[in-house]
Structures are given as structure tokens and as C-alpha cells.
Amino acid sequence: MLKTTSERLGGLFSYSNLLSCFYQTLTAGIVIACAYYLLLATQENLEARHIESGFSFLTQEAGFPIGDSLISYSPSDSYGRALLVGIINTFVAAILCIFLATIVGIVMGVAQVSGNPLIARMAEVYVEVMRNIPVLLILLFVYGVVLVGLPSVKQAIEFIPDGFLSQRGIFVPRPIAGDNFIYLMLSLGLGIIGTVFFLKWAKKTLDATGKSYPTIWISLALVIIPPVITQAVFNDVLTWEAPELKGFNFKGGWVFRPEFAALVFGLVLYRGAFIAENVRSGIVSVQKGQREAATALGLSSDRTMRDVVLPQALRTVIPSTTNDYASLVKDSSLAIAIGFPDMVSIGGTMIGQNGQAIEVIAIWMGVYLCINLIISLLMNIANNKFQLVER
């Protein structure tokens, strides 16, 4: 039944429409007024209590030391730079945790539905135990075990040549670029280009003839072998700076401190269990017929899982895993309990010194929000891509 224009316009300006418009405007107005009032009252209270406000403190000298920094930092640098150190630490820890937790999650998730009852039960026990313990306890436990379990710095274990393990952390040799380093980069670049062409060719061959190659191993060889040959043939390509025990501690080399290691290990153990559960439920949600069809076509169980089941499982796995990634990033703020200088730990020090809690908390919220929005964005893109695969 078609309505005339006047009827439609009349509908637009009808009594009920106007009323609902009025209520919506009123609600929005009240919310804005409340926010404005809170802002004014906060400013007034801060002034009445002689507390500085604003972000100008970020340029002042921080004055406190930070133990673990990826960029150069000294106590005479500004609060802004100190906070940047923390943000970078949070970011690096979060990215590394997400990467490792995903691997743990996929392995454990697949293991849970494995036909081997021993593996399946063990994976189940892991998931159930980790999911049901508060993450803070896991972190404290891991950190405690790390500290008690490792030898003192004087009795450090040399687990690889020039690599030392002690209560001060894991020290490994640091690569230093020599004069001929450019050749190494070139050979690596050639290896990667070669791999891309190989993968394209392998896919074409697979589609055309059904003949498949061990692509993973060949790709790895293509990427790794050329740089290794370069290193052997040319002089002064890459040298290693070995850590050395001097005085109280090792000097030189790369170090992973116990706090960082415990944080990453603890968060990965915890969040990996959730992701494993997502993966398991994703796999279970794939219709049995798909697997039976793949088996009927003569695909091995490995390839059935990799090429048939997992791609379809991803559709249910991705949305819930996005949430887990977001939680993981937020959980990284617990780093403070085990002495890792993440953004929250460093911001806390700044609050202790300045009393400017609102500003620092606003920065914390902003950074977490940004990180999680980026994750959400990337995961939504991935999600859309996999949703299209549906047939």
C-alpha cells in the first residue's frame, strides 16, 4: 500500500515522532550537562586543593630510573620520555604475548580434539587449570618459580655458547652489523623473493596437477640458506657481542630480564588456554561431513585439519579471539606486580611524584584504547576476509 507524500511527511512530524525526538534530545542534553558539570567541578576541586592540572608536567625532568628500556633513557629525561618507555614496553610485551598465545592456543586447541586420548586429556587439563586461576596468581607463581629456580649470577648456566641463564635474566650474544652487512640483507631479500615465486608456482602446480610439495620446509630453506652462505663467504658481515660477567652482572649482549620473561610466559599460559578453547569450539562447529568428505577424497588427517577444518573454524574463532587479545593487552597492566616497568608501573611512579592522577589515568586509558582499537580493526578485517570463504 503506497502512502502519499503528505502522509509520509505527516508521519515524520506526527505527535509520537516529535515526542520521541524531544525525549532523545532531553536525554542527550542531560548526559552532556552532567559531563560538563563533572569537568567543572573537578577543575574547581583541583584548584581548591592546590593540585596542578594539565599535561605540562610531561616536559619536566622525570628523575627516576627505569630498569628495562628499549630506547635510550636516563633519569634526566622528561616524564614524557619515561612514559614513552613504558608505552613501548607495554606494546612490545602485548605483541609478543599475542603472537605466542596464538601459537599455544592453536596447538592446544587442536590437541584437545586429537584422536590420541593422552594428548587430548593433557590439553584439557592445561586449559581447565589455566582458565580457572586468576592471572595475577599465575604471574606471581611464574615469577617466583623463575627467581627460585634459576641460579645466582655467579653460577650462571651457559646454555648455549656465550648465552647465560641466571636470576639476572637470559643473556645472549648481540649481533652487530659489520661493513659487509649489506650483502647479508641482499641475500635475505633474494631468498624472500625466491620464496614468494616458489609459493606461487607450488600453488599453481597444486591446482593444476594436485601434486603438493613440503612448502614450509622449502620456504624456510630458501630464506635461511642464502644469508648463512653470505656469512660464511664474506668477512665482517655480522659479528657477535658476547655478554661477559663483570662485577655484579653481565655486560653486553642482549638481555631478557626475569620480569619480562615471567610476564610473557604467565600471560601466554593464561590467555593461551582461552584461545585453545576458542579453537576447539571452532573445530567442533565445523560440520562432520566436511571432514568425512576430505577423508573420502584421500586427504591425510594433517591436511584435512590444515586445509579443510581450520579455515572454516576460523569464522567462529576470530570474533571470540579478538576479545581475548583485548583482555590480554589489558592484563599486561599486572606487570607492576612483578616489577616489569610497563606503562602502568611508570605512570604509577609519576602519580606518586606529581599527584596528577587524572592526567596519567587519561593517558593510560587512551593508550589501551588505541592498542585495542587497532587489534579490533585488524581482526575485523581478517574476519571479513574469512567470512567470504563461506560457501
Binding site: Y37, L38, A41, N45, L46, A48, R49, H50, I51, G63, F64, P65, I66, G67, P75, P134, V135, L136, G144, L147, S152, Q167, R168, K246, G247, F248, N249, R257, P258, T322, N323, A326, S327, K330, D331, S333, L334, I336, A337, I338, G339, P341, V344, S345, G348, T349, I351, G352, Q353, N354, G355, A357, I358, I361, W364, N372, L373, S376, L377, M379
Partner: protein
């Protein structure tokens, strides 16, 4: 972006800080703190999470220590009873904020009186109850005899304190390199030191002495001789409530004056009778003058305070000095007449 669900397990520390921070929103200026306290029937007193000798719950869960006794004295001065207190354990970085937001009425928590805190952070300090200084504790087997030999050492430290800043200043001034490991709480820092994560632990010397007693073998640890900072510790209150600040200040001043005058927990009840000719004693114990009313209390406020916790010397000996496991010497915390720094304005 709808996938960005709120997760319950967000760090509890953050939410704690946020509540404290949000408390700054829209709180109306109240009547005086004293009126609030009287109406409420108890004081909210901010203390540490456990520093033996200063504030620490004993095996029965009763808080004790020098800082705790300051709160008890204030409670006794107001209510006549020393247990009208709710103790609120605070992390280092909360100690200022908690008092600014009114979460506690006073913080008595080994807090150093600094210019910035006094002028820029919305709090006022009352009276110095302990003259401290920052030092270092190391294991004896490291063979270190001076903090200046600690170049390259890993040092455990607590966040949100002047300790962190002093450590950096000391390192810069002496061209040393420390690798700090910063912990949220004292307990975590001490545990990390005990397990060998750090070569040295740094905090105020009195606390080092306190933590040393908690080590499995105290004699294996040594407090180095350097004192790298001045740490005058004082209870603090919200800026701008002068009546409340006066009350806390003069109650503590009274405890120190009581030691000067020889007024003790035992003799306080009949000393006003016994020393009729000592005008200072008469004024302090409310037998003459209206001194209690100047700070909005009964005139026998100091009688109540002293009978609850004793004079400053008794408080010190019981919690930190010769009657305690810490057995700290009075040192700079002796009365001025005994060569120490304890010197307060006269009660008159």
C-alpha cells in the same frame, strides 16, 4: 568496533587508582574533618601494607607500630578511646591521593615531607615523627663496604616513593650505574632481594633494619654506612583544613613534650595532682587553661592520648627501640636535650 568488550579482569590496581582519581570529581567541600570524624564515630587512618615497627598487623590482626600509635593518640584525644580507628593499608603511590580525596582523614605511613608534596599535591604535613635517611642493604658475601662500590649492581626499589628519585640522584652525583627493579609494594621488593634477584635493596634505613630482621639469616646481610638522603617522616592531612591539621600536629607535639616532661603512660593519671607547681604539666594535662578547646577537644585530650599510647619515648622504645626486635638506637630521634633532633614548639 563492537567486538571490544569490557573485560572483568582489567588490572585491579588500575581500577583502584581510578576510583581514587574519580573521587576528585564532584566532591562537595564538607564541613571540617573533625565534625565529619565525630559524626562518623571513627578516624580513617592510612597506613602501610606492612612495615614492622611502623605499621604492621600483629598475629591477632591488631595494627601496631610508631605510625599506628600516632593514629591511636589522635583517636584517644578525640574520643577518649584509642581504637576508634579504621586502618586503611595504602600502596606507596596512594598515600597522598587517599588523603586528598578524603578516603582517609590522615595518612601516617612513613611519608617523607618534601616541598613539592606540601605545595603542589594538596596535602599538609603535621609534625616530624621520625628522622630517617635512605640507605642500602646488601648480602655480606658480596664483600661491599660502601654504597659507592655498587657500580653496576641491580637494586630493588619500591615505586612511587622519594626512594626512586634519591637512588637516581645518588647514581648521577657519584657517576654510578644501577639497574633498578621497581616493585609496587615493599613486600615484593624485599622478596625479590631475598631470592637474589637484586644485589642490594634500598629504602629508608629504619625500614632496612626492620626488613633485615625478617631475613632467614639476618647476620648474612649488612646495611651500608652511606645515608644518601634526608627523610623526615611525618603524618599528613588534607590541605586547607587548618583545624584538623592543628589537632593532629598538637596531639603529636604533645606526645613529644610529654617525654620532655617525664609524663608517662603510668603516671599520667595522677601527675596533674602530683606536680601542682609545674605549670607546663598543668597546661598539657588540662588542669589549667583551656588548651584542648583551642583545637576543638576536651581539655583532658592529652591525658587520654598519653594513657592510650604513652609519650614519644615510650612509643619509640616499644615499636622500634630497645623493647622491640628492631632494637634501633634513638640517634637523631632522641630529644633535643639528649643531643637528638626531636624539638617541638612549646605547648602554651
Amino acid at each position: 568496533m563492537k567486538k571490544l568488550a569490557v573485560n572483568k579482569s582489567t588490572g585491579k590496581k588500575i581500577s583502584g587508582m581510578m576510583i581514587a582519581g574519580l573521587a576528585l570529581f564532584a566532591t562537595q567541600a564538607s564541613a571540617g574533618t573533625l565534625d565529619d570524624v565525630k559524626a562518623r564515630g571513627h578516624i580513617n587512618c592510612g597506613v602501610s601494607e606492612g612495615v614492622p615497627g611502623f605499621s604492621n598487623p600483629n598475629s591477632d590482626g591488631v595494627w601496631s607500630g610508631l605510625d599506628v600509635d600516632m593514629c591511636r593518640a589522635v583517636s584517644a584525644a578525640i574520643f577518649g578511646e584509642s581504637d576508634k580507628i579504621k586502618f586503611v593499608p595504602l600502596a606507596s603511590k596512594q598515600k597522598i591521593l587517599a588523603v586528598v580525596t578524603g578516603q582517609v582523614d590522615l595518612t601516617s605511613r612513613t611519608t617523607t615531607w618534601t616541598m613539592k608534596r606540601d605545595t603542589k599535591e594538596g596535602v599538609d604535613f603535621t609534625t616530624i615523627v621520625f628522622y630517617d635517611g635512605q640507605g642500602f642493604m646488601t648480602r655480606k658475601d658480596l664483600g661491599v663496604s660502601s654504597a659507592k662500590e655498587l657500580d653496576g649492581a641491580t637494586v630493588c626499589v619500591t615505586s612511587g616513593t622519594t626512594t626512586e628519585l634519591n637512588l637516581a640522584d645518588f647514581a648521577r652525583a657519584n657517576n654510578l650505574n644501577f639497574e633498578p627493579v621497581v616493585f609496587e609494594g615493599k613486600k615484593e621488593a624485599v622478596n625479590a632481594y631475598r631470592s637474589g634477584r637484586c644485589d642490594a635493596l634500598t629504602t629508608d634505613n629504619s625500614q632496612l633494619a626492620s626488613f633485615r630482621t625478617t631475613m632467614p639469616d639476618p647476620s648474612a646481610h649488612v646495611v651500608l654506612p652511606e645515608v644518601i638522603s634526608k627523610e623526615p617522616l611525618s603524618p599528613l592531612v588534607k590541605h586547607g583544613d587548618n583545624q584538623w591539621k592543628d589537632l593532629v600536629t598538637w596531639t603529636i607535639n604533645g606526645l613529644i613534650t610529654a617525654e620532655e616532661l617525664g609524663v608517662t603512660q603510668k603516671n599520667v593519671s595522677n601527675l596533674a595532682e602530683a606536680q601542682r607547681n609545674n605549670p607546663t604539666v598543668q597546661r598539657m594535662l588540662g588542669a589549667s587553661g583551656e588548651y584542648g578547646s583551642y583545637i576543638g577537644l576536651e581539655n583532658n585530650w592529652m591525658v587520654n592520648a598519653i594513657s592510650a599510647v604513652g609519650n614519644y619515648g615510650e612509643i619509640f622504645d616499644r615499636n622500634l627501640g630497645k623493647d622491640s626486635p628492631l632494637n634501633l638506637p634513638r640517634g637523631t630521634n632522641a630529644l633535643w636535650q639528649d643531643g637528638g633532633l626531636m624539638y617541638v614548639a612549646p605547648l602554651r
